[in-house]
Symmetry: C2
Subunit: 375 residues, 2 copies
């Protein structure tokens, strides 16, 4: 099957919505947070640990898997699910974002056919096109594939973005034309920066192509303000169909997940929980904390007494700090488990709040506590 989104309840006072998404690997509730498994591994964790923190869909990066080990090897191993042993649904991005952010020396040559760039690994000349991106994703055999889009920097001019949006729509068409995996859904991506008319145009034209779901892209760029991010969502959502799932790409700060949900987003992904974990940081209800801080040296309390994750059930702050300050990889692993669970639990609570028409009260309560002591 492809995927099927069922809208169950619209929030009374906001655009927030509660729904369900049916996939090849089970049905999951939305709003949902997707952990990121860049190279077919959510850094340091096993699939069982992801299931343990109630993961649904996870994300893997087409660009990284194309370069290493190569999509043919993943296909030879039976596709992404068998390759990485994840028994839940997997979404792959298009590679577009990485081409623009990781290309060697940030040099790329954007042509109508696609993007010429040098590999960040060995400098090899590469060309990624809409057709190539879809062909790779077809072979990876993810449950949801993304259209190849241009991700312009936050500094791009209106004129540039206008042309870019047009090209991204032409690319989406070309990708859809060659997509040929009957078990894989294909999403379109809305671009247009912080401009209302461009977002509107991009959304309407992309929806005309009739995708299985829609993403809002170009919102997690370096230098973008939160206001521009929220505007981009607000300008896009009204033109997306109610009966299709909506995915905000690359967003994972708790406040942004809450603001995204309130504006009508169903799915989020971000490397943040695992990245900050490797740097010794953890999400808590009272804000982010940093285990390099000496105040945790003799702290025999749990990271969060109310958290149900493996880390909080079994370890003290003093032990986690010891692992982090001695560079033991178990430290980053324990914090990754907690941080992913934290964001997934946040979406669970947001779902409850939508069901009870308490989403604004929930936001107020959560953020008041969260922002008080955050580092």
């Amino acid at each position: 099957m492809k995927i099927n989104y069922e809208l169950i309840k619209n929030s009374k006072n906001t655009n927030a919505r509660y729904g369900k998404i049916e996939t090849n690997y089970g049905t999951y509730e939305t709003p949902m947070f997707m952990p990121v498994g860049t190279r077919a591994t959510v850094k340091s964790l096993t699939p069982e640990e992801l299931i343990g923190v109630h993961s649904g869909i996870i994300l893997a990066n087409t660009y990284h898997l194309w370069l290493r080990p190569g999509e043919d090897i993943v296909a030879k191993c039976g596709g992404l699910h068998k390759f990485m042993n994840y028994k839940g649904p997997i979404l792959t991005d298009s590679g577009g974002f990485q081409v623009f952010s990781l290309a060697k020396n940030k040099q790329k040559d954007i042509q109508e056919e696609g993007v010429h760039f040098k590999s960040h690994i060995d400098g090899q000349n590469l060309l990624l096109t809409p057709e190539k991106s879809i062909a790779i994703q077809n072979k990876l055999d993810s449950d949801i594939a993304m259209s190849f889009d241009e991700c312009p920097p936050a500094s791009a001019s209106y004129e540039y973005l206008k042309n870019s949006v047009e090209r991204t729509i032409r690319w989406a068409k070309r990708g859809k034309a060659v997509h040929n995996n009957p078990n894989q859904a294909l999403f379109g991506i809305v671009q247009g920066g912080p401009y209302e008319d461009l977002r509107k145009y991009s959304a309407i034209e992309t929806v005309k192509l009739d995708f299985d779901g829609y993403s809002i892209g170009g919102v997690a760029n370096d230098g973008e303000s939160k206001e521009d991010m929220y505007k981009a969502i607000e300008y896009s959502i009204p033109y997306l169909p109610e009966n299709k799932v909506r995915y905000l790409m690359g967003v994972g700060e708790p406040v942004d997940i809450i603001e995204g949900v309130i504006r009508g987003v169903d799915i989020f992904d971000c490397v943040l929980p695992t990245r900050i974990a490797r740097h010794g940081q953890a999400f808590t209800r009272n804000g982010k904390i940093n285990f390099h801080n000496a105040k945790y040296k003799e702290d025999t309390s749990k990271l969060e007494e109310t958290c149900d994750c493996y880390t909080c059930q079994n370890y003290t702050k003093a032990y986690i700090r010891h692992l982090i300050t001695t560079n033991e990889t178990l430290g980053g692993r324990l914090l990754s488990i907690h941080n992913i669970r934290f964001l997934i639990k946040l979406t669970e609570e947001l779902r409850e709040a939508i069901k009870n028409d308490k989403i604004l009260e929930y936001k107020e309560e959560f953020l008041t506590k969260y922002n008080k002591n955050s580092v």
Copy 2:
């Protein structure tokens, strides 16, 4: 309780023996391999994963825990077991080996009172004495503590070793006199390099002090030949009591475990399985293999079809190679699980071989296969 060793069966043709060791945390069969949790963590693994590979006793390093986080913090967290969440028995070494191998610039000043040296972390002046080592281990609250010994280099002269053995015996006496943890066993350590008379003297004098078990030390030094290692065991074992457990420190190559068992050793420990894992290497029945080798790129077979570990049950060689070559920490973790399981399984098979009086046949069969293709 302290510990209790029960000798169940002596091998017919060799000194190998099968027995059981009763501890505060359950009874375990010997010969046994102990995984090493240097800083109160067996690198990258959780306690549940250790139980999953059938670990019994594990080892933690007194030197490392003394420096970070400090024994008082471990004690405040309820001792090593609670600190690291391991529900099996834990042995701590004395810190002696690390003082001699890790001291900054390899400089140390060995006096009768103890060893003056500089911390390898911050260059701080430190003094480790027999009394201090025992006091730290008492606070760590391991199940088995080791006497503080001098670990001379493999290049040490006979004259040097003679004096060193005498001093280690005096240190053992001093440590025993201050040991005061009623739930902790204390082992003596036999030294003496490759010299028959020194090993004999060291063993006899150490046994006179009546420890709960005996270690053979000074055998895993840089530059020591395998022949010297085997001699050191052969010269020590005859003078150790039958009713006490025997532990060969720092040894973990499969061939050395087999040769040690044949010579009458009950317990082994080594960082080898986790260290080679981080470098992309795995033990197999056909010898060590290296996942950096391109031949595993498209290898969809398991690491070892006959192995019951989590890694072999769930992943292909192609996936492990992908993780290793992209520096994903899950790669080292999966190989650590397999490598530890490999050595523990080896000791399980050695126990069966002793029970069936087939230990020499087992050695022949194992090593013929293992040595054929080893890297």
